[in-house]
Amino acid sequence: MLGYTITQWLFGILSFLAIMFALMVVFTRNPVNSVLYLVLTFFCIAGHYLLLNAQFLAVVHIVVYAGAIMVLFLFIIMLMNLNADTEPRKHIVTRVIAGLVGGVLLFVMVGALKGAEQLQLVHGGSSQIGLVKNLGKVLFSEFLFPFEIASVLLLAALVGAIMIGKRDTNINSKESTN
């Protein structure tokens, strides 16, 4: 097909879809639609991970982001009863300036990174590094300590989220008695 391989076609289609859905996340007015477009973006990024032979990360990405984090976002949005009518909008000047700053940033990044094709390829080793077996070996030998620290971080976040999110009835009753 026009001299391109299937992988290259897939890369092009996935990149196009990811960028389109990411733009829709920013430009849709309804927050619920934004969340759904972000889920689609994450599926496209998971497809990219599959193309890069990172099968384990692709699955974890879908489970963690599309499955857990986005459900949390949807839940909070529904709790707050947000929709397009109540959506606050920035002034048009601010939005134009934001677009301009983004464009300039893209310009600088493309200019700075365009020489990257001269990077040297490192050969050797297996191409199976994305599989659970190999990732697990690296994770539980080389990165064992950060792994344990991550568990402490998740515990701290759990406790913190519960402490912040719960309704403090004690403080109000103390204020009312004083």
Partner: protein, 103 residues
């Protein structure tokens, strides 16, 4: 070349996704949308880490992505708890109205 795709393409794709996220942070007022744009920026960086991990045939990059996902999950949990608290007290999550620190 990664399966016939130059690393340059991945770098440009990540840059574009990152900048879309950055523009979203600058242009929107809803705090939840800003959170989602930050997630988008994190994912752009993750994609680049995986691409370089595959390029160099080194699993460390993918382990980093794994840790970034754990940190992002923790960040979202605490951030959304703070947002729901803010909404309970102020009945809004418009960041332009939540400027009490400025004065």
């Amino acid at each position: 070349m990664l399966n016939g795709i130059p690393i340059n393409f991945y770098i440009m794709l990540s840059a574009v996704l990152f900048i879309i996220g950055a523009v979203g942070v600058m242009a929107r007022r809803n705090a939840i949308i800003i959170f989602m744009c930050i997630e988008l920026m994190l994912n752009a960086v993750n994609l680049l880490l995986v691409a370089f991990s595959t390029l160099h045939n080194d699993a460390s990059g993918q382990v980093f992505v794994f840790f970034i996902m754990a940190v992002a999950a923790a960040e979202v949990a605490v951030g959304l708890a703070i947002l729901s608290m803010v909404y309970r007290n102020f009945k809004t999550i418009d960041i332009d109205l939540l400027s009490r620190l400025k004065n």
